[in-house]
Symmetry: C2
Subunit: 200 residues, 2 copies
């Protein structure tokens, strides 16, 4: 069985959301699974000395225009959440806790969180919103709420973020196809080609 495609993303990343709506069908075409790995861009910003695209002078206005235009080009329902850029640490913790329990339900949770934020423009930064998505995906709400405050789950997320950065993940979305790194939703065509050809 070929290795899953690693898909690293920040829930607060619009281009990560666009990629999340497309990577599954690309992977499936090549008989691959996708391993969803939420992480926190805030940790990267500290190392790279950068900041969220929308906060950069000049780039910010363009990026807001481009993300909506890219969503229309891909036929994806897209709404910028009022609180963007928002905190996603609770969503990330719940995601890894869920992945350890039930990967199929966890996938539904992660996709649900992303769509809640970026298709509906909802606020997923607070624990109540994460719990609601987890319940919709079939998890026990009280267990999820407890997990988000569990030291072991917090450590798990920190370890995932460290592991991502150790592999060179510095943006969202970020993919690895058999070890080959790709950054950006605008590299999805390359991901597709790499899967088809094994590289060039």
């Amino acid at each position: 069985m070929a290795k899953p495609i690693e898909f690293w993303f920040d829930y607060s990343s619009p281009y990560g959301f666009l990629a999340s709506e497309k990577i599954g069908e690309i992977a499936a075409r090549h008989g691959r699974a996708v391993d969803w790995r939420p992480f926190l861009m805030g940790a990267v910003f500290k190392v790279t000395g950068t900041q969220p695209l929308v906060d950069v002078p000049m780039k910010g206005d363009y990026t807001r225009h481009d993300m909506a235009r890219a969503a229309r080009a891909l036929g994806i329902r897209f709404t910028v959440p009022a609180g963007f850029p928002f905190m996603s640490v609770g969503a990330c913790r719940a995601s890894y806790w869920a992945k350890d329990r039930d990967p199929v339900k966890a996938q539904a949770l992660m996709q649900g969180l992303y769509r809640k934020a970026w298709s509906e423009g909802g606020d997923i930064s607070h624990p109540g919103a994460v719990v609601a998505q987890a319940e919709a995906a079939g998890f026990d709400g009280q267990e999820v709420e407890a997990a988000m405050n569990d030291a072991a789950v917090k450590d798990r997320l920190r370890a995932e973020v460290d592991a991502g950065m150790a592999k060179g993940v510095f943006g969202s979305p970020f993919f690895f196809v058999d070890g080959e790194p790709f950054w950006g939703h605008d590299r999805l065509a390359m991901v597709d080609r790499w899967l088809a050809t094994g590289g060039w």
Copy 2:
């Protein structure tokens, strides 16, 4: 006659070079000309508080890998110049001076400069290299050399950089199609689609 596509670029930009090898054929498919507008990313870095991609921790290594991979994907001969990132102010001044005199020869000069740097890995940061390219494009070497030190030509370049930034140009390559902005060689497919459809 439909408006030319504005193509803004920095000679020191690898993705700008990749775009320069493709934008002509995309434009021609839609009956458009391309207006090449060299500018200086250094001016942008001051405003945005950013720096060249290859100097950013983590991003630098990826970018060097990605630019070569993207060139192979596009079938473009690609060599990173030893002095990259390099100063291109002389090349820019000569380009605008040339555009004012003979747009066809100027086009040959700009394409020649870009290929010298990024296909051959040559150094175009010094005046002698710019003069050599200008002569190859049919200009008088002594006139070009004088032009690079001419206060009026220096002012012309400053005005172009200011005009680009006033329009929102903050990266290389940057395109305008009938006023619609596109940043990055990875938006060329969108440029193509915009030209075909008039927008979406």
